[in-house]
Amino acid sequence: MSAVWNWCNLVRKEWRESREVIIAGIVAFWICPTMLELFCLALNGGHDTFPIGWWALIAGGWLYAIIAGANMVCRDWGRAEEHFLLAQPVSPRAVVWAKLVVGAVLVVGLIAIVTAWEIALTRRGVFAGDSEINWQSPIPLVCVMAVSYMLAFTAAVMSRQMLASTVVACLVMLIWMVAPLLSSAMTRFGVLIFWSGARGSWIGEWLIILSVCVVIICATTSLLYATRERVIRLGNKQLAWTVGLIVLALFSVAMTEVGSSLQVRDQAELFETSKFDLGSVRTVQRGDRFFVTCYDYSHEPGWVMATFRVTDNGRIEGLRRFLVPGILPRDPVHGELLRDEITGLAINENGQLVVTGIRLHVVRDQRGNLWIRGPGEFENLWRATLSWPEGGRLEVASRAELALPTNEHLRYVASEFGSNIGSLRYGYLTASVSEGGLPNKLYVFDWQDGPNPSPRLEIPLPQDTSSVRVWGGKLRIRIQSTNPRNQDREATFDFDQPETLLDKRNRSFHSPTYNLQDVEFFRPGGYYVQVAERGELAYVSDLLGLRVARHAGRGHWEIVGETRAAPLAMLFRLVPQPKILDDSLLVESTERGIIAYDVLDPSKPKRVGFFNAIVPRWPGGNPVLATKRHLVVCEYNMITILDRPTNAKAESQ
């Protein structure tokens, strides 16, 4: 009984001594944010705000808990008052218990006050967007703040030093927050992962279990250490060196995880002006010679073509440029300007450049900007064969334009914005009954039929066909559903094999996915799936990494190999587009650069390098090409030659 009485007496003192800390917490995380929220509500036109207090607690609550934990002990322990306190008939463990309980009440109480307030505001509907606070929301916050508090408290009991215990606790919290980025095995224990949106999943349970374990271990250690006579003295110097070296070590581990960038061998600016359309870059390779073209926005818009060689040392040699005028004289029929859009570039068997494109109507507005008209407003499709001999000028060897059917409302078949019309050999046009109506016929032209090829095939389209277009390397015919509850259906074809369109048995209409395999390859956390196929293998990229799959018959695929992206690398990983460059090299293009993989062994794909190239998100034009020793990356106006990663230099993961 007297022990309980003594303990209550201690709690009374601790509570009174914690007044300043409590007031600081309430002011920082409740009163000031509330005032800001009311301010926003009053001034904001939409009369809404967002939970400032809640976000303040998430951002700074852990630091507050650390300082509260260290202060709880060090305000009398480690100072002269410690001797007075312990000279009373109280055990050091009772003192530690009292401090622990008062601090826990303080931290949980603060979270409860802020949560209750924000829930009240949520119920009033004053928060913009999807900011919603409910009674489950504070669970991860309680875990983090409890762990922070206990770490600082235990460090303070062991050292009796305010600065040392604060710094040690901050360091441990830093390692906890960063650990999931260094190792995927640590992801389930991560703090930040919980808040990234995976609420209610198994990840949250691990966080709670870890937090409870840490709290118990810290409490036990504090109680055991309370009666020890000698404390761990950490001078400022030792502390600072420890922190500095740990930070450096963590950083080194992180950098090792993501690996190093590929070595740059040479760079060259292709064109002299600076206004380019990234989406229009097209590259093609003939051995060690490269051809690049892209659309130039400068005051003389046109197509610039460049060619260069890459030596064995990775040097760019023999760079030559040629400007193909882009704006042609006014269309005699419509009186508008015309523009030639290049949609494809290749090398034929004679070593000549083959260029396909669309001749479009453009309108110049009052400011002088050029605007392209829609897919129905085109002049024609064209194809040219160019020869560019070594040391010579670029010459047009031949040029072909379609013989268009008359009295038909025609549209060309292409990908979005006309950036890719698919085949180099065949041209596709759709015809509809009325202008802007649904297509009912598909014309197929073969460019090898002469300088003005007539339609080779005329294919009636199914009723309710809503669109024919090129997407994901396939020609797609989509039928819209009459029942609004049902999805549209789609059939895909190889645009280099138009005869397959003739056989109705090839028309298998199903729910549209951009790649059939997406459905099979989708996994939680992977989000966007992109596939590159080569023979019977499919290389599947998503946000979690790269998988290799083999066709197992009847449209099913089995995964034969996988490599996961390092957690830190995942932060920089955006929608990756895989492309197989040769037997052993696969390159993923993302908005943050390219990632190279060694795929010689399909069961063990290995990440072997990356580079922060600036390449388009949906590269239709081969921005990355490879020679035996180098990678050639086309970034806007710049060609960059990189060392090709060899198998022997495969990096982590």
Binding site: S2, A87, P89
Partner: protein, 300 residues
């Protein structure tokens, strides 16, 4: 086996801090009802011993029994029964005097509120004043009040007058004596201001280099420890004198501080050219001789 006549009993106490030996086998008996002075140089280990008496430090070897309670096993019970005032006692500056007294009182079942109030008024401490605003003298008085108000049988004072001016020191000691002497309480008083200890203590012990080198009643010490001054004859050698504490030779004159004066005088008379002078010493000089006395004999 603890002797019920002893309020404090220390047996073969050892304590190391790392490699440093602070206490090397201390034996001490403090009779009940006495005022016991505990002397030693700075760093001798006085505060360490006191903290072990209160159960605040654990000994590496040996035991302490205070008021019949083993301090290692029942420290809490012990501290309830013992009044303690530390050197340079720092209390919670944010509390007011009245608040602090009320808070401390709850730890002691035998707390006497009337006595506490009486002492507070005697010491002229304002209950509403913050502890942090008190002067050094007032702080010491407050610490003494807290040590005495629960009517302990044993009071341990660790250098209680440290940093006080002469008047404040006199007042504090007068309060201690007046409160405790009549009740027959035991006072264990550690200090290095010997002139303070001399008038009030019954017995003293001297702690030097981790061991008790002297423990005796003050009167007995004054009676037995004397200084002998003589002029020795030409070529005279200092005879073997048991209990020699200090030997000084200067300008042909010897000055010896000895524990058994009569014996020493008899041994020295034959080699003295003139009279052998025997003088009494105060506690200061006795302490100095025990602690820093030169015991090697050199030819003067």
């Amino acid at each position: 086996m603890s002797n019920p006549m002893n309020a404090i009993q220390v047996e073969s106490l050892r304590k190391n801090f790392g490699r440093q030996e602070i206490l090397r086998g201390v034996n001490l008996d403090v009779p009940a009802g006495s005022i016991f002075g505990f002397l030693g140089l700075n760093g001798a280990g006085k505060t360490t011993l006191i903290r072990m008496l209160l159960g605040l430090l654990r000994p590496d070897a040996g035991r302490c029994v205070v008021d019949g309670i083993d301090s290692a096993t029942k420290a809490l019970e012990l501290r309830r029964r013992v009044g303690y005032m530390a050197e340079n006692q720092t209390m919670y500056g944010w509390m007011r005097v009245g608040q602090l007294i009320e808070w401390v009182s709850r730890f002691y079942p035998s707390w006497d509120s009337t006595l506490a109030e009486t002492l507070r008024q005697q010491m002229r401490l304002d209950a509403a004043q913050k502890v942090g605003a008190l002067s050094k003298g007032q702080t010491s008085h407050l610490a003494l009040l807290l040590a005495l108000a629960h009517r302990p049988n044993i009071v341990i004072l660790d250098d209680p007058t440290l940093g006080l001016d002469p008047i404040a020191r006199r007042d504090l000691l007068r309060d201690v004596i007046s409160q405790l002497q009549d009740r027959g309480a035991t006072v264990f008083f550690s200090s290095h201001l010997l002139y303070e200890i001399e008038p009030i203590c019954d017995r003293i012990a001297i702690l030097h280099e981790g061991q008790i080198i002297k423990c005796a009643p003050v009167d007995e010490l004054r009676e037995t420890v004397k200084r002998i001054v003589l002029k020795p004859t030409e070529g005279a050698r200092v005879p073997e004198i048991p209990g020699l504490l200090d030997f000084q030779a200067q300008d042909g004159q010897w000055s010896l501080t000895v524990e058994h004066a009569e014996e020493a005088r008899r041994a020295l008379t034959p080699i003295s050219r003139g009279e052998v002078l025997v003088t009494g010493l105060n506690l200061d000089e006795i302490f100095e001789a025990h602690v820093i006395g030169r015991r090697e004999v050199s030819r003067g």
